[in-house]
């Protein structure tokens, strides 16, 4: 075990060049390093880490409670970690998107995660606010919460050793290589020598919501989905997935398929209609909506692969497709000009 403290805080870096994002990461790490009760680590963006990356191995080696600060919705981060065999109980954080009272979040009725070790994972979305203090206060609160229930501090399980052994066999990262992640300043400055990770694109399944209905496997014609030994749906060939295409997410009746980096909140793992916070101008710039969007997104990818477009002839959801909700209000004087509105 490399990490030794009660709680490990991991910052998952942004994959964008946005200086404001990098600045927040640096401020957070600088402040967190002053807290002796924490282990602090920085890893590249979780979504871009493949199973063989030393960052993934590092995260797998952390046995205790975990706070993950990352540029995506908590739900996306949690199931991304779960998929990478970094499992734990999805713990509640007080740092959540403000919910619109009118929006009902549908009840999760999925099959759930499997073989969860007795430890908590808190995922915090760095996109919520640019003020580091908010995150620091929440991490302090989480620390107090965990210390209050100190008897439940998890005992490191054997799987950690197993992973290490397999690493040795595969000639994969040695402990020294993983320790680099606990020198967060060098990771942030790009001087740690960790291997680069390239941008990736694939769906992440939220098993709290997934009911194993198999509509995604029917709809996707690129062989991304498969089933495991227990006939549970899984993302089997993630690199078959078409960059930018979120079509399967749109056909999922439970909103259980997440593309963490998609710009539409509902696809990226938001629960409820937080998209209403910002105006979506995609229709203006050329998008279709709903099931039509899924069909045309799929056709684009089929044609690009040299295959024939199939339109609505293959893999249509069994349920009635939700009819597009177009809110057509009466035009009134309010909208004489954009200047009159606080857009």
């Amino acid at each position: 075990m490399i990490a030794t403290k009660t709680l490990t805080v991991v910052v998952s870096q942004t994959s964008s060049k946005n200086p404001a994002r990098r600045h927040l990461e640096e401020e957070l790490v600088a402040a967190l390093l002053g807290d002796e009760t924490l282990d602090v680590a920085v890893v590249p963006h979780l979504y871009n880490l493949d199973s063989g990356h030393s960052g993934t191995r590092f995260l797998q080696s952390i046995g205790g409670h975990l706070v993950v600060l990352c540029w995506m919705y908590p739900r996306a981060a949690h199931w991304l970690l779960d998929r990478a065999d970094i499992k734990g109980h999805q713990a509640d954080t007080l740092l959540v998107e403000e919910e619109d009272e009118d929006v009902e979040i549908p009840e999760a009725r999925g099959v759930g995660g499997v073989e969860l070790p007795d430890r908590s994972i808190y995922c915090l979305d760095l996109g919520l606010d640019s003020d580091p203090q908010l995150y620091l206060e929440e991490i302090a609160r989480i620390g107090d919460e965990l210390r209050a229930g100190i008897e439940s501090v998890p005992v490191l399980d054997d799987s950690v050793g197993t992973v290490d052994l397999m690493d040795w066999i595969a000639g994969s990262p040695e402990p020294e290589q993983l320790e680099r992640y606990l020198d967060p300043l060098s990771v942030l400055s790009g001087e740690s020598g960790i291997e680069p990770s390239k941008r990736r694109w694939y769906p992440v399944i939220d098993y709290e919501r997934c009911t194993n209905c198999m509509e995604c496997i029917d709809f996707c014609l690129f062989g991304v989905y498969g089933v495991d030994g227990q006939d549970r749906i899984l993302v089997e060939e993630q690199d078959n997935c078409k960059k930018g295409c979120p079509a399967c997410s749109r056909v999922c009746p439970e909103n259980a398929i997440v593309f963490p980096l998609h710009k539409e909140p509902a696809v990226a793992g938001a629960l409820g209609d937080v998209g209403a916070l910002k105006i979506d101008l995609s229709r203006l710039f050329g998008s279709a909506t709903g099931l039509n969007a899924a069909v045309s997104e799929r056709d684009v990818e089929l044609v690009r692969d040299g295959r024939d477009a199939v339109g609505v002839s293959v893999g249509m959801p069994m349920r009635q497709a939700d009819s597009d909700v177009t809110q057509r209000d009466e035009l009134d004087d309010l909208f004489d000009g954009l200047d009159a509105m606080d857009l």
Binding site: K278, L281, S282, L338
Partner: protein
């Protein structure tokens, strides 16, 4: 050179320069060597307001089809995917707005261009584009208002 045109968005004057072509999805295209520089029109930028995030989901030198999603843009008030205007080829992206997306606001018709593009498709003249704006304005207002309510 054709005269510059103006489209009135309420009180706001959206400029449609006469020295370039346009696409239906609010992009301008201007000849640049053996390709076309592409950028967002003043109309689009006005609706977006202050742009602070721009990203591309395709690599340079990629064939694209019309309406294919190729990137995304986010501003203080709005978010949108970006779509290829026509079938064609995206050659390279302009680093300036990637480094500082506010270039789209400050110099949208010049330094804030987005990418270089080749296409065989027929493009819109400034006058054609003005017709597109006139025809779509009511609908656009409704769409925005619908989302605000």
């Amino acid at each position: 050179m054709t005269d510059n045109l103006v489209f009135m968005m309420g009180e706001y004057e959206a400029l449609v320069p006469g020295d370039r072509f346009y696409a239906w999805n609010h992009l301008w295209l201007q000849e640049d060597g053996d390709a076309l520089k592409v950028g967002l029109t003043s109309y689009a930028v006005r609706l977006l307001q202050d742009v602070f995030f721009l990203d591309w989901t395709i690599d340079p030198n990629t064939d694209v089809s019309a309406r294919q999603e190729i990137g995304e843009i986010e501003s203080s008030k709005a978010v949108s995917s970006l779509y290829a205007p026509e079938d064609g080829h995206v050659l390279n992206f302009n680093d300036a707005p990637l480094d500082d997306p506010s270039a789209v606001n400050t110099s949208g018709y010049d330094q804030g261009w987005l990418y270089r593009f080749r296409t065989e498709a027929e493009l819109l003249s400034p006058g054609d584009y003005l017709d597109v704006l006139n025809d779509g304005w009511e609908d656009t207002q409704r769409m925005i208002k619908g989302q605000l309510n």
